[in-house]
Amino acid sequence: MSDYNFAYLDEQTKRMIRRAILKGVAIPGYQVPFASREMPMPYGWGTGGVQVTAACLTPDDTLKVIDQGADDTTNAVSIRKFFENTAQVDVTECTQEASVIQTRHRIPEEPLTEDQILVYQVPIPEPLRFLEPRETETRKMHALEEYGLMHVKLYEDIARHGHIATSYAYPVKVEDRYVMDPSPIPKFDNPRLESAAIQLFGAGREQRIYAVPPYTKVVSLDFEDHPFEQMKAEQDCDLCGAGHTYLDEVIVNDQGGRMFVCSDTNYCATRCDAGHRGRLSPEEDAA
């Protein structure tokens, strides 16, 4: 694989992406257009995130890739292999060991540090897109800070369901200026968008890059009488017993059996290793 340039992309492309990242960091929450390249994987598989990661990686980095919190799913495994082959970087499944983490739709449970970069894969970067399909109009709405429509959408949730039913890709306002789509992370993760790490968002098909610098104010939109609420399943994890993590519901048979497990596989495994037990943990050996 030594025939590829370091981290796959050519230097000209990386400079273009790097310039977009820096402008994104300087204007938190604003979507910077960039000339997204075709990558050796289909749109929807994280081409935006991969390009941002490629522009950030150095040979000294340790990369972690997660898909819905899991290190061992197809998307995560193939992106991790891609960078192992094209950038020869070390890879890890351990959140604390990673210096660059590419994620699809989750923020790791473990709090991130100043030395880490979190790269999100974003399908639709424009939070107003389903309310206003025209790019010319949404751009104007951002320029004029005209976000009333978004509050109407949240209000209609309340009118119809009695509460804000939006449960993922929950819109946030960054540094009191831009309304931003935090990518389809569960709203459980929204409070952790205020982080010590640099957070970069890449949308390949939609050709946008945006960023949230460390310690930036990120507020989930809500109403005084309907404040933002974190949401998770009421159960504890069936493997590690954690009651404070985001859980996936897994169907285990065709008799309606189900179990709840941490969506962050590394966090769950670390807890299991530390001796935490859940409802369905295997019996400890009597010996």
Binding site: N5, F6, A7, E11, Q12, K14, R15, M16, R18, R19, A20, I21, L22, K23, G24, V25, A26, I27, P28, Y30, V32, P33, A55, C56, L57, T58, P59, D60, E114, I117, R139, K140, H142, A143, L144, E175, R177, Y178, A196, I198, A211, V212, P213, P214, Y215, T216, K217
Partner: protein, 188 residues
């Protein structure tokens, strides 16, 4: 073209530019923090940090403005060989290099409301960088940071334009600090 202008590029561009970018990213994401970078050497009086930054971020797609003592034949030759950036007047520049005395007089693009990213990034050469002086708060800063900015008022006026405005890198020798338009600058 001067023979000397063929010298001073990266010996291993993919790796050196990646490392330099990470320093530049960290500096812009954490205003006031002083980073170290190097690998490139441009004709005097350009610092190693400024030369490395130019080589990492600029190419034929980025119009560049050279201020005062930096607009020399040697520098133009070095840029056209290593970078290929068109040298333009301040009003068309995407990047600008010079001292604060040069650049504070220039009128550089601050972006337009639909596209605030269409604004210039300034590389301001300084004698030294130190974490003293002006107090910085805002995105990227947990409590507050300090940096020896050349003045205060211009940066307050720049912040008032937000989300429009200019973004700054300050360079001295191998050292680099950043100041994005989002930073709130106050006197100590």
């Amino acid at each position: 073209m001067l023979d000397s202008s063929l010298q001073g590029g990266f010996s291993n561009p993919p790796v050196q530019s990646a490392q330099a970018f990470r320093a530049a990213l960290s500096a812009m994401a954490r205003p006031g923090r002083i980073e170290t970078l190097g690998g490139a050497t441009a004709p005097a009086p350009t610092s190693a940090a400024a030369a490395t930054l130019l080589l990492t971020l600029c190419d034929q797609e980025t119009p560049l403005f050279l201020g005062g003592a930096y607009d020399t034949l040697a520098m133009r030759d070095w840029i056209s060989f290593h970078i290929g950036a068109p040298i333009v007047e301040a009003g068309f520049a995407q990047y600008a290099l010079g001292t604060w005395a040069d650049l504070s007089q220039a009128t550089l693009p601050t972006g337009i409301s639909d596209y605030p990213d269409r604004s210039a990034t300034l590389i301001v050469e300084m004698d030294t960088l130190a974490a003293t002086g002006a107090r910085l708060t805002g995105p990227g800063i947990e409590v507050e940071a300090h940096l020896n900015l050349p003045e205060i008022k211009a940066f307050q006026a720049n912040r008032a334009l937000f989300p429009l405005g200019l973004d700054f890198y300050f360079t001295a020798g191998p050292h680099l600090a950043g100041l994005p338009r989002s930073s709130i600058v106050a006197e100590l």
